[in-house]
């Protein structure tokens, strides 16, 4: 490590001051140090304080990991914690990965916390005094080593006075003084300081101030965002119930989220984006982004196979006794070949051994033969309750089957059965099959065979592939039921070589009016990660498919709200085959397909989104120079985002493996080139003359196709592209410059046109040929 001078306030950019190698003799080093010192002094004298510079001479890894501690006795599993449900999404949005640790196990060792940026706690329920004290001691030692501490709620509820000393120290590191006082009835308390950008995010501070602990901010050591003051007989008692500092951040229990019991809804009172940004020590960094590709919001669609064989009620298919899957294929998939879709079949629906139908197989063959349909699996036996299968016991399942209520036999069946018995024959078998669950009362739908993980994952994927053209592989496994698979199940999908998705049920609309209902990117399951779907499906919009069936139209609200003011999620159209039963549901799906077709999105297969989401967790970022970063180990993730980037632009000349950039919501989305393993992203002040515009090529602003492998050529450049539908794209170059753009597939020329940039330096392409198979775009200067 080399010395660092950083974190000075800055409003502009200055030339980089690079480090010197340590191998130089000390005297020479001293001379240079003196020179540097002189230069710095000169700069300091010349530059006004308001334009102080950042001088970074250390190359370092950006720490993106946050350790979330939780108490499994209050919140049984990591995905049940408030941290996961409410805080992880904003943290992901800011670029942070959250790893969970149960405080009821062993404590993380110092080496295990190396590389972490912060420890996050959100305890509410009292814990045993010994556990609370151990927690305080561990936090004391971890924060003493420099780990930031972000505390929502209480630090260690249930701690006795024995833990007072570390409690006091921990508060001190947050720039606060712990008093032990608590204001139970706060109607006489006054708000004496209120940062409205921090508190009052989705709901204003309640008029009835809730109870709160008295935590006094230390001047200069912390920034208090909400200070309440209660007059007591000892005088006014100010308390910083929301504060951030160099050591982390604190928000008291009742000042984080608000729960309204009548409507059963949660809203953030605290601005989680702003709070975590400050508490985790804001610094400009490229945030790995899972919403955007080639400068556009991603669109993907995936269909769970539930209801595949159901007869439709939709006219005119109803009279033809068509299956829901057939209706979906005919109405929502075949006519929209410019929009990829992942179709996931349930093995049991198609396997006659379990009760599946051969007619349904024909639909699967038809769909999987389509080039824009991705082969996927929605399990074999459709588990409803995944945890049941972690320690599976067939006998328990058999008991449940025996206990389940048999439906009443129709009168006609009873009558025929009676006649058959009178005639001395066996009564015909009714429609009822005890091994096909009608509801989620039983652990899975198809119960005939004992559960086997291998069959559930690999078997299901293989079955899906058996209906696809030869060589077309299954790419995705879509979780069923409660969508909370155990670690072993997630691992099984990994070893089968596919991505996984589902769960999360993201919504952000007037019925679910909080980002609290937008989930994290994924869920930690042991050492594995389950990837959540980016949007919820029609089941939740139709009240568990009980109606009204037009409810799915409301997805549009979530799509808008997760695009502005922050792009939180891609555009995901996620539904089930049973939508083919009801006219209103089908109408909603078609509405969104038309919306996707007319929107500035980049359609991608669902498995690509899942891959990008997976790689959010693997991406590594190093700051290598002032406003220069290296992004590596990023797999399929090809976009990084810089927030609050109004004054910034991409410095293409100093970047490597970068295709271009676009601004959205005040953030700069930088498109990386998947052909380059370690991308180098450099930024510059936007008001400077743009060096790359004087160069030969053009930079990507946005495209409906995936662009990669940029090659500079004599006068111009080439890129490879693939995608769905028409190739709409925008490039940026010097104003007035013209290019001849030729589109090839292999050696075959598909199209040729001449384009000229307008006064804004932008030129647009609308390439008609499809790019389902990769194509090459060659831009040649045309003067």
């Amino acid at each position: 490590m080399r010395p660092t001078f950083r974190n000075r306030p800055r409003s502009g950019f200055e030339p980089n001051v690079r480090s010197r190698s340590n191998r130089w003799p000390a005297t020479i080093g001293m001379m240079f140090l003196s020179l540097w010192a002189g230069l710095l002094l000169l700069l300091a004298l010349k530059i006004p304080a308001a334009q102080a510079i950042e001088i970074e001479i250390t190359e370092r890894r950006i720490e993106r990991d946050v350790l979330a501690l939780y108490d499994s006795r209050a919140e049984k599993q990591s995905h049940e914690t408030r941290i996961h449900q409410f805080a992880e999404m904003p943290l992901n949005f800011l670029g942070f990965r959250v790893n969970y640790h149960d405080i009821n196990g062993s404590w993380p060792t110092p080496s295990e916390t190396t590389g972490y940026r912060a420890v996050l706690t959100w305890f509410l329920e009292p814990m045993e005094a010994e556990r609370a004290e151990a927690l305080l001691n561990w936090l004391d030692s971890a924060t003493d080593r420099g780990l930031k501490h972000v505390m929502l709620g209480e630090m260690a509820p249930g701690a006795s006075d024995a833990g007072l000393a570390p409690l006091v120290r921990l508060h001190e590191r947050l720039g606060l003084t712990h008093t032990g006082e608590y204001i139970d009835i706060a109607h006489k308390a006054r708000v004496v300081a209120h940062n409205k950008s921090m508190v009052g995010f989705e709901r204003p501070l309640d008029k009835v101030l809730p109870d709160y602990p008295v935590v006094v901010p230390v001047a200069g050591k912390s920034e208090a965002h909400l200070v309440l003051q209660a007059d007591t007989r000892d005088g006014p008692m100010p308390s910083a119930v929301v504060a951030t500092s160099a050591g982390g951040g604190f928000a008291a229990s009742n000042f984080t989220i608000y729960f309204e019991p009548t409507s059963d809804r949660v809203l953030w009172v605290l601005n989680p984006f702003e709070f975590f940004r400050r508490a985790l020590g804001w610094e400009r960094m490229p945030v790995p982004d899972v919403t955007t590709l080639s400068g556009r919001r991603m669109y993907f669609s995936h269909v769970d196979g539930d209801g595949w064989n159901n007869l439709t009620e939709i006219e005119p298919f109803r009279d033809q006794e068509r299956l829901s899957a057939e209706v979906i294929a005919e109405e929502a998939i075949i006519p929209f070949q410019d929009l990829p879709v992942s179709v996931a079949v349930i093995g049991g629906d198609l396997d006659p051994v379990l009760g599946g139908s051969r007619r349904g197989q024909a639909v699967a063959r038809l769909l999987f033969a389509l080039p824009h349909v991705e082969v996927a699996s929605h399990t074999y036996t459709h588990p409803y309750n995944w945890s049941f299968f972690e320690d599976y016991n067939r006998q328990t399942e058999a008991d449940a089957i025996a206990r389940s209520l048999k439906p009443e036999r129709p009168l006609r069946e009873q009558f025929i059965g009676t006649l058959a018995r009178l005639a001395g024959r066996d009564p015909p078998r009714g429609q009822y099959n005890p091994y096909i669950a009608g509801t989620d009362d039983l652990p899975r739908t198809y119960l005939k065979m004992p559960f086997e993980l291998e069959q559930e994952v690999k078997g299901a994927l293989k079955l899906s592939e058996s209906f696809a053209p030869k060589g077309k592989k299954a790419k995705l496994y879509q979780w069923s039921g409660d969508t909370t698979p155990f670690a072993g199940a997630v691992r099984a999908t990994r070893s089968a070589g596919v991505r996984n998705i589902n769960g999360g049920d993201s919504r952000l609309d007037r019925a679910f009016p909080s980002v609290a209902y937008v989930p994290a990117i994924g869920r930690q399951a042991g050492a594995e990660r389950q990837i959540y779907a980016a949007n919820s499906n029609e089941n939740t919009y139709t009240n568990d498919w009980t109606g009204p069936y037009y409810g799915f139209f409301l997805l549009e609200e979530t799509l808008k709200n997760t695009e502005m003011p922050r792009r939180l999620k891609p555009f995901n159209l996620y539904y089930h085959m049973y939508s083919g039963e009801k006219a209103a549901a089908l109408a909603a799906i078609k509405h969104f397909l038309r919306l996707a077709r007319s929107s500035a999105v980049i359609p991608v297969p669902a498995s690509l989104y899942a891959a990008i989401a997976d790689d959010f967790y693997t991406t590594e970022i190093r700051k290598v120079d002032t406003e220069v970063w290296e992004v590596s180990n990023r797999g399929a993730l090809q976009t990084v985002r810089f927030d609050d980037a109004g004054s910034l632009a991409l410095d293409l000349d100093n970047s490597r493996g970068v295709l271009g950039a676009t601004m959205h919501n005040g953030s700069l989305y930088v498109a990386l080139d998947s052909a380059v393993d370690v991308a180098r992203v450099a930024l510059r002040a936007e008001n400077r003359e743009s060096p790359e515009l004087s160069g030969r090529g053009a930079m990507l602003v946005e495209a409906r196709w995936q662009i990669r492998n940029r090659r500079e050529e004599d006068c111009g450049m080439s890129v490879d592209a693939e995608g769905f539908g028409r190739g709409d794209m925008i490039w940026r170059t010097r104003a007035g410059r013209a290019f001849e753009v030729v589109l090839f597939r292999g050696a075959r020329e598909l199209s040729r046109e001449i384009v000229r940039a307008g006064a804004d330096g932008l030129f647009r392409l609308q390439l008609e040929p499809d790019a389902l198979d990769p194509v090459t775009l060659r831009f040649t200067c045309h003067e």
Partner: protein, 535 residues
């Protein structure tokens, strides 16, 4: 042919047959399904498009009958034609302004389509037409969710006038009045709820108690408190009520409440001594504590620590030591042991100091130079003691520690320096610093009021708090009325205010909730929306 001939040719039976035929024709015509029946039959047969066509034609022709509109609404719902559905429902509501069912359906439509403004207006109209508790509850909840406090308050008031009595919302109304500074109105509302025994949560009760105290009705507050406590037997809650009285400088009422709700030797009765100390009645408190110690049976750690704090405040280190010894010195936290050892050092109880010293850890000793200095001096190591004293910051010491510091400074030959420092701190010495302190049972110095200032401000506020208030070293939480949880949150992770009378109770509640949840889970996989569940 003449009419006679016709008559001759027409047989009577032909006439009858003709009449029968004509009647059959008329009857057949009469039995043909009308348009309404045709629509119904089409719907029955799933020919909804045809049915919709007929109905729309009728609507376009000006048919605004409720039946037509109802059927149109049903079909638009089926086809997901939301704008037309909205128009038709609104037309229906306009046609039948007093029809509660139509109003409800319109409200449900607005709710389903998330047209919140219209939904709120529809709810208000529904309440105007006919009071409905469900509509009131919904209306109030929505205003509350959005943080529209004035509208929420107005909605509760309006609904109450129509008979709404939901305790949670009446309590909330009281809180809103209290936030406006109207303690009388707030107390009245809470009193009404409590009279019906519907004030169930500790927080609500504490609110009423506080309001009554503020409204200068401590006797009523006490009467209600005694009723609550006798039912709940909740120690923490009782202590909080007493503390509330102390905060309001109603010491006599606080003592009266403590006496009425305690047994000799329990945690509540200990507050009497704390209140005495708070009033400066040190001698009385000392006597009370000695009596209390005799009757105390199996005190908890928390109570023992409170007793020790009080005894040290009452300048009775010996009683604190003997009580702690009986409890088990090793069970006490190091911080309190340090305080005890220091107090015993001041009064020169060497064997007792040694006993406490034996359970102090090396780290504790290292982090408490004052105590270390006393120990070194005890061993005759004056120089080591002097060095440790250099690390002590007298500005941050309380009376006991200052006394010990002054004594140690004196005994290490720096008495003058100590006196100067004490004077600069605004401390008056009750005895000259060079007076032998071995026999003294009390700290030799007392802090004058003016000492406050910077030195005290640097200390945690708890150290300034009155003794009864100092009891609370950590956030104390009360059970809230509805231990409800945000959707998807684990049973234990209670939403707004965390529950918390005691761990055991919480655990029991959690266990019950878990059992209920498990039972529910067994019935169905609980497809609540908010936690991932896709079928």
């Amino acid at each position: 042919m003449s009419s006679a001939e016709v008559r001759a040719r027409v047989e009577p039976h032909m006439v009858i047959m003709g009449l029968v035929f004509a009647s059959a024709l008329v009857a057949g015509y009469m039995l043909l399904p009308g348009e309404n029946e045709r629509v119904a039959m089409l719907e029955r047969d799933g020919k909804n498009l045809q049915a919709l066509g007929i109905l729309e034609a009728r609507f376009d022709a000006g048919d605004r009958r409720a039946r037509t509109l109802y059927q149109l609404v049903g079909l638009y719902e089926q086809f997901g034609q939301i704008p037309r559905l909205k128009t038709t429902l609104e037309a229906l509501a306009e046609a039948r302004p007093r029809d509660v069912q139509v109003r409800r359906r319109l409200a449900q439509f607005y709710s389903a389509t998330q047209d919140n403004e219209s939904y709120l207006a529809a709810l208000e109209q529904e309440i105007d037409v006919k009071y409905s508790e469900a509509a009131c509850r919904e209306l109030i909840g929505l205003h509350r969710l959005k943080g529209e406090f004035a509208k929420e308050q107005a909605a509760i008031v309006k609904c109450r006038q129509r008979g709404y009595r939901r305790a949670e919302d009446v309590v909330r109304l009281a809180e809103l009045f209290a936030a406006d500074g109207d303690a009388v109105q707030a107390a009245q509302l809470l009193r009404n709820v409590d009279d019906l025994k519907r004030l169930k949560s500790d927080r609500e009760r504490l609110q009423l108690f506080t309001m009554l105290v503020e409204a200068d009705q401590p006797k009523e507050a006490q009467r209600r408190a005694v009723r609550w406590i006798k039912v709940s037997r909740d120690k923490e809650f009782t202590l909080t009520l007493i503390e509330t009285l102390v905060r309001s400088r109603r010491h006599d009422d606080a003592i009266a409440l403590a006496r009425e709700t305690s047994q000799p030797g329990d945690a509540i009765s200990l507050t009497v001594a704390e209140i005495m100390l708070d009033r400066g009645e040190t001698v009385a408190a000392r006597a009370y504590l000695r009596g209390w110690a005799v009757s105390a049976k199996s005190p908890s750690l928390d109570t023992t620590m409170r007793f020790n704090d009080a005894a040290l405040d009452a300048e009775d280190a010996e009683t604190a030591f003997s009580f702690s010894s009986a409890f088990g010195l090793a069970r006490l936290p190091q911080l309190q042991l340090v305080a005890l050892a220091e107090a015993l050092s001041v009064i020169g109880r060497k064997p007792s100091v040694e006993a406490v010293r034996a359970v102090l850890t090396t780290e504790t000793l290292a982090s408490n130079p004052l105590l270390g200095a006393a120990e070194e001096l005890g061993r005759g190591q004056k120089e080591a003691s002097r060095e440790l004293l250099n690390r002590v910051e007298p500005e941050k010491l309380d009376a006991w520690k200052l006394t010990l510091w002054a004594r140690l400074m004196q005994e290490t030959g720096r008495g003058g320096e100590a006196q100067t420092k004490l004077r600069s701190l605004g401390v008056v010495s009750e005895r000259p610093a060079d007076t032998p302190l071995a026999s003294a049972a009390v700290p030799a110095v007392s802090v004058v009021a003016s000492r406050g200032g910077a030195a005290i401000a640097a200390k945690p506020a708890a150290e300034q708090a009155t003794r009864i208030l100092r009891r609370k070293k950590r956030a104390k939480r009360f059970q809230v009325r509805n231990v409800v949880r945000p959707p998807g949150v684990a049973a234990g992770a209670v939403a707004k205010e965390p529950a918390g009378k005691d761990i055991e109770k919480d655990q029991k509640e959690q266990k019950n909730q878990k059992i209920q949840k498990d039972q529910k889970d067994q019935k169905s996989a609980a497809p609540s929306f908010t936690w991932p569940f896709s079928k």
